[in-house]
């Protein structure tokens, strides 16, 4: 444990220590006029002695301390290595805290949720989500190196990232059975509006896409709502149908381009910036040769192929969207299949067995986060100031009884 200064230049304020020294310097050079009638017997030869002397030593000490504390406060003092050896116990939301408490016998352990900000377990279960690996790395970086850490995790972790966390410390990794309520997978994010740009010849395709988009909306609706109360979603909200001449909005994410011929350059640029487009079977695309099958029917024929263009993707229909050419259009599974195609399949799986992602030691160690001491110094300054005022006024009281 040691004291550090974040702004050592603030110590220049220590020069202010000269002020009380000057104030308390006994004013010997200044001769007080004193009436003295017996002047005749006073020897004149003696000159006043010049010697450095201070008056009111205790008050001077108080004032020096006060100024020194102020200067230190300006220099922003921090305490390094201050956090004690108390064990940190982190409980992943979803793990039963009382069960975890029986497992840890240490009384001085600090209990926190493994959640952003690491709130104490007395607070309600946090709802904010963040990958568990990220939280562990943050914890590893902020806690002093010698603080022991115990982490309680459910047996299945929902928000795992691609790698086993590599930490500087070795954790006490405890796996507990999760309570059932929190074991369910996170609900998928609602589907964005499907933007459709079609040529006149592709009008017959539209009802199927409209129906699929409407079905997505029902799929995304909260399950607690009864279907009877759910108003059928209006097509205007789920799809945006227009001729090909009309440009697409900037915030479009999913597009169905139903027109033969080459892709306009504006659409192509949009895809390259990260859009996902379902392209008509007759669209001419140079990358079509590299496309891979994404959806096959039961016979193994390719129905939709996909290819990456820039940061986006193109989904290439191989057949017209007519029930004759694509009997799966009439399947009840069609909206889900279409949704799967649009959804970014590149996101890695996030659920993992807790025992499988136990952090491994050997990660980078970080410089310790110092603990700021400014609040304590503020209290000390206030106390010293009060004391100084008290003694200063007491001295004045003594002088004028």
């Amino acid at each position: 444990m040691s004291l550090g200064l974040l702004l050592p230049a603030g110590l220049a304020a220590l020069a202010a220590l000269l002020l009380p020294l000057l104030i308390h310097l006994s004013r010997q050079s200044e001769q007080r006029r004193t009436e003295f009638a017996a002047l005749r017997w006073l020897s004149a030869s003696l000159r006043p002695r010049q010697k450095l002397k201070f008056e009111e030593l205790f008050l001077l000490l108080l004032r020096l301390l006060l100024l020194a504390a102020l200067a230190l406060l300006l220099a922003r003092p921090v305490l390094l290595g201050a956090a004690g050896d108390a064990r940190w116990v982190l409980v992943t939301p979803g793990v039963d805290v009382t069960a975890a408490r029986t497992a840890i016998k240490q009384a001085d352990a600090e209990w926190h949720w493994l959640a952003p900000g690491f709130p104490g377990v007395e607070t309600p279960v946090p709802t904010a989500v963040q990958p568990i690996g990220s939280l562990l790395r943050e914890l590893d970086a902020t806690l002093p190196a010698k603080t022991p850490v115990t982490v309680f995790v459910p047996d299945v972790i929902d928000r795992a990232d691609g790698e086993r966390p590599r930490l500087a410390r070795s954790l006490d990794w405890r796996v507990m059975a999760a309570s059932a309520s929190t074991a369910k997978a996170a609900s998928p994010s609602p589907a964005p509006v499907l933007v459709i740009r079609n040529a006149d010849s592709r009008e017959p395709y539209l009802p199927y896409l409209r129906a699929a988009a409407a079905a997505w909306r029902v799929m995304d609706a909260p399950s607690t709502q009864s279907p009877a109360n759910t108003a059928p979603p209006s097509p205007e909200k789920t799809v945006d149908v227009a001729p090909t001449a009309q440009p697409i909005a900037a915030n479009t994410r999913w597009l169905a381009w139903l027109a033969p011929g080459p892709l306009p350059s504006s659409i192509r640029e949009w895809i390259e910036r990260g859009g996902i487009a379902l392209l008509d079977a007759e669209v001419e695309l140079p990358e079509a040769a590299q496309a891979v099958a994404l959806w096959r029917n039961t016979d193994g024929d390719e129905l939709v192929r996909g290819v990456a263009i820039g940061r986006g993707r193109a989904l290439l229909l191989t057949r017209p969207l007519t029930p004759g050419a694509l009997p799966e259009l009439l399947d009840g599974d069609f909206p889900r299949q279409l949704r799967r195609l649009f959804k970014d399949e590149s996101t890695p799986p996030q659920r993992a067995l807790a025992s499988a992602i136990k952090p491994i030691p050997g990660g980078p160690s970080f410089p310790e986060t110092p603990r700021p001491l400014q609040s304590w110094f503020l209290v000390a300054v206030a106390l010293l100031f009060a004391l100084e005022r008290w003694f200063a006024s007491a001295a004045r009281r003594r002088q004028t009884p």
Partner: protein
């Protein structure tokens, strides 16, 4: 009393057993409490003398006539009143007090002592007067008697302010015209002025019954100064730079020697002399000058 009461109650209470008195017999006319040179009716035997025609028959000592067959008249001392004069130095140096007790200057102490003496004289039926010597001359209240004269004197004391230096001798001539021989003179001064010492010496030499109280401040006795001071004398305007702690021993030694010289001078002139420091009780110098329960004062060694 119209004038403010100079005497603190504690001091006034202690004045009860004090009595003014002169060593020598008083010569004034009238009846009083003090022994005198005049012969007449009284308790104290003075002398026998031969009968002369015109003496009252009842004054003849008949027992002596029976022994000696001659007429003798028995004479007794006549008790006479005393005239008490207060000679107050009101030069500027008398305004000096102590920084520790700002309300009490030498002159304040002198006024209180004067008021005490006036009270004593009034109680004994003696005459009393004030002669205050300030820089602008002499402030004189002629000797008188009675409570109204007491108030007149206190009023004069109240108006008295310390100022200036000791005046020329010619300005003090009314003192000689007013203070008669045999009067009791109490000089209240710091005796830093040579003129003041010379005046009391010549008064004593001219058969005035002089007592003196030298009023000293605590600072002059203890010299408690620390650090540099610019000492100044308000009477002469002189200034002196000195360091308190360094000058202390030398000053105390020289000042004590000067006081001893003064005391011996006054003693050789037949003056009863006491010193009074401002932090002492105010009746103490009077008690040493006029010991209680004794009309006939024994000479005091100064």
């Amino acid at each position: 009393m119209a004038a403010p009461d100079f005497i603190p109650p504690a001091v006034r209470a202690r004045l009860k057993d004090l009595r003014l008195g002169a060593r020598r017999a008083a010569g004034s006319q009238g009846f009083g409490l003090h022994h005198s040179r005049s012969r007449g009716a009284g308790l104290e035997f003075a002398q026998y003398r031969a009968y002369e025609p015109g003496d009252e028959l009842r004054q003849i000592d008949w027992k002596l006539y029976a022994r000696s067959d001659k007429f003798f008249v028995r004479e007794a001392e006549r008790d006479s009143p005393l005239t008490a004069w207060l000679l107050i130095d009101a030069t500027a140096s008398m305004a000096q007090g102590d920084t520790a007790r700002p309300g009490m200057s030498r002159l304040d102490a002198a006024k209180t002592l004067s008021a005490c003496v006036i009270e004593l004289a009034l109680r004994q039926g003696d005459r009393f007067g004030i002669a205050a010597v300030a820089g602008d001359g002499l402030h004189l209240v002629p000797a008188g008697i009675g409570p109204r004269h007491r108030d007149r004197c206190l009023l004069e004391l109240y108006k008295l302010r310390a100022q200036g230096a000791w005046p020329m001798q010619i300005a003090l001539r009314p003192i000689w015209e007013r203070i008669g021989a045999g009067a009791l003179v109490l000089a209240l001064s710091d005796f830093f002025d040579e003129g003041c010492v010379a005046l009391v010496e010549s008064l004593a030499a001219a058969r005035r019954e002089v007592s003196s109280i030298q009023l000293l401040t605590v600072e002059e006795r203890d010299f408690p100064f620390r650090g540099g001071h610019r000492f100044f004398d308000s009477e002469t305007g002189d200034e002196l730079l000195s360091d308190g702690a360094a000058a202390r021993d030398d000053f105390l030694q020289r000042f004590a020697a000067a006081r001893a010289v003064l005391a011996s001078r006054l003693a050789s002139a037949g003056i009863r002399h006491v010193e009074h420091v401002l932090d002492q009780p105010l009746d103490a110098p009077l008690r040493r000058l006029f010991p209680a329960r004794s009309g006939r004062i024994a000479p005091e060694s100064a």
